[in-house]
């Protein structure tokens, strides 16, 4: 909630003016019963028609002024609410971009997006309503009480007794409903999951003949949802009747007591009418308040979900102080171990590799052997949980993260291109790159024909690069990394969709660059000519060396070779 407050601070003026104008509007309404009392006690009692006409014109004028005040208040409320939601979205977007890879894994893109869209929308509605109504309601309730005191202090004591009772009733219902609403939401999520699974997994579920079981499970879920909805509905439905009853009981007491006061000559009949008018005013306001409370509770839940994201501390710029440069190889993995957050066994343990500048390193291994994890440690996508990774003689945790990543060109396993043009995508690699640099990068990535086919670098790229084939997309993502002119280039299984000839030309072109290249692959042929090959097996290094060395000394490598070359023999 403190994020909400700090966003609201920017709209302090609006957030103050809006309730203030609401107050004025309420004041206009609060004056009405007084005027009515005068109509009765002066106009009617004295048979003064002109007085009545003037009083009623006054009522109309109060209405008009109320309208103007209200419109002003609505405007300021809208401005503050819309501003807060825009600020929240901006902060959320920035915060999410600062998340570390572990945090991204943990939260997942769909959840982040929901928070930025529907949750923030709910908060906007909540803020808007709160500024407009949540303050108006107490103003009317307390204002009516104050006016009642002005009419008759003794009779007004009824109001004083009534208000805490009303507050208690509204609060009690709300407190009882909140946790139950959450349960309804959980059950609803379950219903949604079932529906989705039976669409996405239709083939598998039908192949395993689970249709009946799924229907039964769904029936149980909907029955549970019905029960939860019925329970919370029954409690929430108490609010309106209860407030209605309380206010009317207060009316009974008020009129009875007021009657005694009239008999005693302390007040007039019109005053009783005015007091009753104030009670009606409170009632009408409370009905609105009850409806509002649902909106506000939802908004609070959403604000908390948004807050949870904003509270998370993003990636740190550096973890260690920047020290002296150590002499030695360009990239060094020193007793490196890594365990994913919440993962059972380590994904990597005791990896020792050292690479000179300009060398090509092949990282080879089976599914889940830790290949991607190993290269992800270098640009600090993840931080080693044991040992250290050095780039140019410095622990990567001591290099500011932006600088570190600018020195690394990265080609992800999952190809990601962005809406725009080939040019705009290449500029991801280097924002100010020249045409010559782009052409060079495309040439190295064997992607000149890809660009040419779209009429050059201005060729359009659709979302996810859907208008390119798998191999074309891979080559463009390689060009995007190459255009940075990086110190280290990481290719994470990123030539899998290329045919062998193109793959070979690509490797040749990359070898000519003055940068250290990491090639992650399942194919032995892709790494065969690398200067160093690291063979991983279930998170451990099974061997490090050249093709020839490994062929002699590494059993796992020989097995991999055999499983792949056998096919072509």
């Amino acid at each position: 909630m403190h994020h909400l407050r700090s966003c609201l601070k920017r709209y302090r003026t609006e957030a103050i003016l809006s309730p203030l104008f609401k107050l004025l509007e309420a004041a206009m309404e609060l004056l009405v019963p007084l005027v009515v009392a005068k109509i009765v006690d002066v106009g009617i009692a004295g048979g003064d028609r002109a007085y009545i006409l003037h009083a009623c014109l006054l009522l109309g004028a109060f209405g008009l002024m109320g309208l103007l005040f209200a419109l002003t208040a609505q405007y300021f409320a809208a401005k503050a609410a819309v501003g807060v939601s825009a600020d929240l979205r901006e902060r959320l977007f920035a915060k999410m971009q600062s998340f570390s890879f572990s945090q991204i894994d943990e939260m997942g893109a769909p959840s982040m997006l929901t928070r930025m869209t529907s949750d923030v929308q709910q908060v906007q509605t909540g803020v808007n309503m709160t500024l407009r109504l949540l303050l108006r309601s107490p103003i009317v309730v307390f204002g009516a009480t104050a006016m009642a005191f002005a009419v008759d202090a003794q009779a007004a004591l009824v109001f004083v007794a009534l208000i805490p009772l009303l507050a208690l009733a509204v609060y009690g219902v709300m407190a009882a409903c909140l946790p139950r609403y959450r349960r309804v939401q959980e059950r609803l999520d379950g219903v949604y999951l079932s529906a989705r699974e039976n669409l996405v997994g239709a083939r598998v579920l039908r192949a395993f003949r689970k249709e009946e079981d799924e229907v039964q499970a769904f029936d149980r879920k909907t029955e549970g949802l019905l029960a939860a909805q019925t329970r919370v509905g029954a409690i929430a439905a108490v609010t309106n009747p209860l407030t209605f009853l309380l206010v009317n009981l207060a009316a009974v007491v008020l009129i009875f007591w007021g009657g005694l006061r009239v008999d005693a000559g302390a007040i007039g009949q019109g005053d009783v009418l005015a007091l009753y008018g104030y009670l009606s005013l409170i009632l009408v306001e409370l009905v609105k308040l009850a409806n509002l409370i649902v909106t506000v509770t939802k908004a609070v839940t959403c604000a908390n979900r948004v807050g949870a994201v904003l509270d998370a501390s993003g990636e740190r710029e550096t973890v260690l102080p920047r020290g002296e440069r150590e002499e030695g190889a360009h990239v060094v993995f020193e007793h490196v171990g890594f365990t994913y957050a919440g993962g059972g066994a380590p994904a990597l343990s005791d990896v020792n590799v050292s690479v000179r500048r300009g060398q090509t390193v092949g990282v080879l291994g089976g599914t889940g052997s830790g290949k991607s994890t190993l290269v992800d440690l270098l640009p600090r996508f993840y931080e080693a949980t044991e040992g250290r990774v050095l780039l140019g003689g410095e622990d990567v945790r001591s290099i500011p993260v932006r600088e570190l990543r600018q020195r690394v060109g990265y080609v992800p396993q999952k190809v990601a291109l962005f809406r725009g043009t080939i040019r705009s995508n290449l500029r991801w690699g280097k924002p100010d790159c020249t045409d010559a640099e782009m052409e060079r990068a495309l040439r190295i990535a064997q992607a000149e024909d890809v660009a040419a086919a779209k009429g050059g670098t201005e060729g359009a790229v659709e979302q996810e690069g859907r208008n390119f084939s798998g191999g074309q997309r891979q080559r463009l993502t390689i060009a995007r990394a190459v255009v940075r002119d990086p110190e280290v280039l990481i290719l994470d299984d990123s030539s899998s969709a290329l045919d062998y000839a193109t793959d070979a030309r690509l490797r040749q072109a990359l070898a000519a660059l003055d940068c250290t290249v990491f090639v992650v692959s399942q194919r032995a042929s892709s790494v065969r000519r690398a200067d160093v090959i690291v063979v991983l097996d279930e998170g451990r290094v099974a061997g490090v060396g050249t093709h020839e060395e490994l062929e002699r000394g590494c059993g796992v490598y020989r097995e991999i070779l055999a499983s792949q070359t056998e096919a072509s023999s």
């Binding site: 930025m116 039908r206 439905a237 009317n248 919440g342 072509s568």
Partner: protein, 575 residues
């Protein structure tokens, strides 16, 4: 779907719970009566004070208390009845839609985004039930209140009723006017919001790439621009739509002033026949009176939406089911002969197969080979009866699969697809999906054979770890689970559609050994990308453009020097 049909369907789903409607109507009448009588009795009591008649005042106060108590009680009961109706209809509609999902042909499911159909089950159903049923009650009580107020006013002082009757529609028109003015801004707001969301979606979904390329600042700049545009339009949209209430309140205050004026004059003119107390009740009515008008205009808008939702729900439930297999024979334990006879099939107008023939003897291992789109996976669809042929027949043990129950057919076939899918649940539940009665030993043996045991053990809770389709398992790991899942069942026929495409070659080899053991004596169809997987099969069917162009063993086909030999060379040229 025409509106009349939608209404008929709505009536159908409500009918089982119609008794709640009776309660709703009765309670609503009681509520409105109580709410309108309360101010009436309050007015009487105030008159009693003026007359100095303590007994009359006391009686009126009792009546006020009772009518308020009654109104409160019935209002609560009304909500209960109303919720009971809405939530029960909601449950029923969801169940009906869900059952439909289970019987829809895969053709329907494949041709639509999943979100469209699951949206019907979740949000459309909800908007329909809550919008229509809760809205209907609101509408009904609203109309009753308006009628009641006018009725009482007419009975007591018809002239004042007439004044009220003339002024109120103003608020209705004002609301309509504002809504029509707001429409364009709201639409523009929706467009800008969609644009911003699309940008955020693209960047957040690829956040790792964003970070790898230190693109954060540039993204923030773009986002800020879009956000600023949205903020400005949103301000107008939100403000315009929030002007309705103040305007209505203003009209309300005009009504109030008019009632006060006319009422006060009548008190004077009638010399107290129209009493001050009655004037008080009239003013109180005037306060309650415009609210229903507002609600009605909101409800009408909601109705349109609810009807649109209902239209989608019932369009789904009217979709044609898969052809029923009631009365079909149940296939016992199949021997495993499979034959395709002059099979004709296409997904759309265009035929993919036009007279496809193949004969597979029990226990044979058959490989399907060919370029993308040649129809390999389609054969799987036909054999599992996910789709039905449009001509010819697919037979198992000499019987047309369309004459067998799907249940018994599928029980006899194990399937591993390239597109892995994991059900949300524990690893154990997933492995035992096809055979819930399998023992712990059988399950672990299958997991070991599929080379999945080792990584399962490394999951936080081993076999009891809850996993799902989108979670942290890699494609390869998911595929190993899918293989283990079939190994638990050990059916007489197997379909392996690119079953090892996501697994590295070394693990694949180990898994292949397990398959070889599993496939012994079983009819097996293998669709594979890697020809190495294919070589050991008894028979290779080479497909091209929906036809089988070559058939034979690996060696025979290589000798033939045809399309297969060409594919084989292309695949391994570089190695």
């Amino acid at each position: 779907m025409r509106r009349r049909e939608v209404m008929r369907e709505i009536a159908r789903v409500i009918r089982p719970h119609a008794h709640f409607i009776v309660f709703t109507v009765l309670f609503a009448v009681a509520v409105v009566a109580g709410q309108l009588l309360a101010p009436f009795f309050a007015g009487q009591a105030i008159d009693g004070i003026a007359a100095g008649d303590g007994g009359a005042t006391a009686r009126s106060l009792w009546a006020l208390g009772i009518s308020a108590g009654g109104a409160a009680l019935f209002q609560w009961l009304l909500s209960l009845a109303n919720n009971a109706l809405a939530y029960r209809v909601l449950r029923d509609v969801r169940r009906e839609a869900f059952r439909k999902i289970g019987t829809l042909p895969l053709k329907y499911i494949d041709s639509r985004p999943y979100g469209d159909v699951s949206g019907v089950v979740v949000s459309d159903a909800e908007q329909f039930a809550e919008g229509l049923l809760l809205g209907a009650t609101q509408l009904f009580t609203g109309v009753l209140t308006i009628a009641g107020v006018l009725g009482i006013m007419l009975a007591v002082r018809w002239e004042i009723a007439l004044v009220v009757f003339c002024i109120t529609p103003l608020s209705f028109f004002a609301a309509r006017f504002i809504a029509s003015r707001t429409y364009r801004t709201v639409k523009r707001q929706a467009e800008l919001r969609a644009d911003e969301t699309a940008f955020a979606d693209e960047m957040i979904s690829n956040l790792k790439v964003v970070k790898a390329f230190t693109r954060e600042e540039e993204n923030e700049r773009i986002f800020r621009e879009k956000n600023e545009a949205l903020r400005q339009v949103s301000l107008r949209a939100v403000f315009f739509s929030s002007t309705t209430n103040p305007v209505t309140r203003f009209v309300n205050s005009l009504v109030y002033a008019a009632v006060a004026f006319a009422g006060a004059l009548f008190v004077i003119a009638t010399g107290g026949v129209f009493t001050v107390g009655q004037l008080g009740s009239f003013l109180s009515y005037a306060n309650q009176y415009t609210r229903p008008f507002n609600e009605i205009s909101e409800v009408v808008a909601e109705f349109q939406n609810a009807l649109a939702c209902a239209g989608r729900i019932f369009a789904l439930s009217r979709e044609e089911d898969e052809p029923s297999d009631r009365g079909n024979r149940s296939l016992g334990a199949a021997k495993g002969d499979v034959s395709l006879r002059s099979v004709r099939f296409g997904y759309g107008e265009k035929l993919l197969f036009d007279g496809l023939d193949a004969e597979v003897k029990a226990g044979m291992r058959v490989a399907l080979v060919g370029p993308t789109g040649c129809g390999k996976t389609t054969l799987v669809n036909l054999l599992m009866r996910f789709y039905d042929v449009s001509g010819g027949e697919v037979c198992v043990d000499g019987e047309d699969v369309r004459a067998l129950t799907r249940e018994s057919l599928r029980r006899n076939i194990g399937m591993v697809l390239q597109e892995t899918w994991i059900k949300t649940g524990t690893v154990r539940e997933n492995l035992c999906l096809g055979r819930e009665d399998c023992t712990e030993e059988e399950m672990i043996a299958a997991a070991k054979a599929a080379r999945a045991h080792a990584f399962i053990e490394r999951l936080p809770k081993g076999y009891d770890t809850v996993i799902d389709d989108e979670g942290s398992l890699s494609q390869g790991q998911k595929q190993l689970l899918c293989i283990a899942r079939v190994m638990v069942c050990r059916p007489p026929m197997l379909i392996l559609d690119e079953a090892t495409s996501n697994i590295d070659t070394r693990t694949e080899r180990a898994v292949q050994e397990a398959f070889a053991e599993l496939m012994r004596g079983r009819t097996c169809f293998v669709v594979a990308h890697r020809l190495s997987t294919v070589r050991s099969c008894d028979r290779i069917l080479v497909m091209r453009d929906g036809r089988i162009v070559e058939r034979g063993t690996h060696e025979e086909l290589l000798r033939l020097g045809g399309f297969y030999a060409e594919l084989y060379r292309a695949q391994f040229a570089g190695q």
